[in-house]
Symmetry: C2
Subunit: 307 residues, 2 copies
């Protein structure tokens, strides 16, 4: 098979992927799926790239709050801004998946979408991951890049379905994953159309439009794609509804979970208290024969920058 996942070790996980792709692409077989129906969805944080020490849009939001804090003295006593200014990650973790969006909303209210994109691009260009001292976009998993390439070579339509902001991801998703903006589903803030200085712009408002987490993931899939995926990959309980939704369709399908088991090359965690909590979905994966990727056992390489 083309692109046969060189960074994956031989084992149940790798084989289940190869068998699935072979099954749905075998013309004439009862398991054959038309290319138009080959919809694959991937969570992003912890599934396609790392999410430690805190997920990277969250770090962007914190950096951004700090940058403009002088203009907002009221933040010194108001959560979650107080925690962001103090570097109190425990409190921020308790606020959960909405924290980044909550922090970003007021720092970008009234700004146009173009201005927001420029701010993110400027941050990405200079921010460095504290452990690896590299741009955050280097923190993508090499085995998952290979999986995306394998699916693309077999005519899958590949979507990101992430709790992160869609705009935040669209800036680099095409360059890093080859996934274009129109295939990136994420959380969104409300925007409104207006004519500003004679030019039409979209202005960010102080209102969350859509939270693409938990049960919001199948909602987002239905809203944006309008078809049920046959392939879904996640790494936390926030992805569980998306995996259940994918599993409930008819015909061949693959549900996968990345299990963070490698404290040396990456991080080892599952039943934490934050956005990375993995428990129920792990139970379902074991009970129902979903594809469980043990990062330590199944991947011979985690990041592409490793030798």
């Amino acid at each position: 098979m083309l692109h046969s996942l060189p960074s994956w070790n031989d084992g149940v996980a790798r084989q289940s992927i190869i068998d699935f792709v072979a099954a749905v692409t075998s013309e004439g077989a009862p398991s054959f799926v038309l290319p138009s129906d080959r919809i694959a969805v991937f969570d992003n944080d912890g599934t396609l790239w790392a999410e430690k020490p805190i997920y990277y849009q969250f770090q962007f939001a914190i950096d951004r709050v700090r940058e403009v804090a002088d203009e907002h003295p009221e933040w010194k006593t108001k959560q979650p801004f107080k925690a962001a200014l103090e570097g109190d990650y425990d409190t921020l973790a308790r606020i959960g998946e909405t924290a980044a969006i909550t922090l970003m909303a007021p720092t970008h209210v009234g700004k146009t979408t173009d201005e927001f994109i420029q701010t993110v691009a400027a941050w990405l260009a200079k921010a460095r991951h504290p452990r690896f001292d590299r741009p955050y976009t280097d923190l993508v998993y090499q085995p998952m890049l290979e999986l995306i390439r394998l699916l693309r070579a077999h005519s899958f339509k590949i979507y990101i379905v992430s709790g992160c902001g869609a705009e935040f991801m669209r800036i680099w998703s095409n360059r890093v994953y080859g996934i274009p903006p129109e295939h990136v589903i994420g959380s969104t803030v409300a925007t409104r159309f207006e004519i500003r200085h004679g030019l039409p712009v979209l202005v960010r408002e102080r209102k969350i439009d859509f939270l693409d987490v938990g049960g919001g993931k199948p909602v987002g899939i239905d809203k944006f794609i309008g078809r049920r995926p046959i392939f879904a990959f996640g790494n936390s309980d926030s992805d569980h509804p998306m995996l259940q939704w994918t599993a409930a369709g008819s015909g061949p399908r693959l549900m996968g979970l990345v299990h963070h088991t490698d404290g040396n090359r990456e991080w080892a965690y599952d039943r934490g208290s934050g956005v990375d909590h993995l428990d129920e979905a792990l139970g379902d994966a074991r009970d129902k024969g979903w594809t469980l990727v043990d990062m330590k056992r199944d991947w011979n390489r985690v990041f592409s920058f490793e030798e």
Copy 2:
């Protein structure tokens, strides 16, 4: 040029389309646009198919209200239900583009998305257009089908951006236009994920999630596609913001308006009071050299069922 628009008469409108497609696909020319950036958006009602005597999702909503009226005695005195039951189209027209969604919301609250799709499919199979005595999906414009084919043959990604419900259109858009569900942007009601009788479902709620009309159209384009189109076609002032948004990008672009000028083969209207009102966008089209399609003059065939 491939697929050269046989149902279009020679003239400025047809020529502007052919010139535009030639310009953006000429490799090496300064006007060349990468296939990935060839995003085309079309309004639906009055642009791709007819919208008279009332737009067809609206008729569906009215028929549906009548079907279940016995269970809702309160509708006899409550607008817009009263108007729907009495066939008072003037009142319904005044309510405007949201009327169909407003009527549909309570008739489908608590139903799953699958149940809703079945109801629409059953209606489509038996409903007939009152003037032409044909299924509503026959009321698509042959010249616009040819335009879609021309763009597709030149690697455009073609999206519908319509005030109608996305779910309503996705049921037939692929069969009728070759536009798959994931390229249909429309208004949506809120849904929630739940496990019902042991199976994951999406349940329709009594809440509009997104109105894809007027300024909502560029908002929807940015939210769903995340790129600015280079080609946009509409037929009413509700499409004006989408055309302005498309026009404001850099590089070659085409903005088009279908002007309903043929009272014999179709209908003649523009400055009405309803969802079909066309005034400001028509002014811009004339002032700025947008492509103005005079249905009577520019199309030698309107519907494919005509001899």
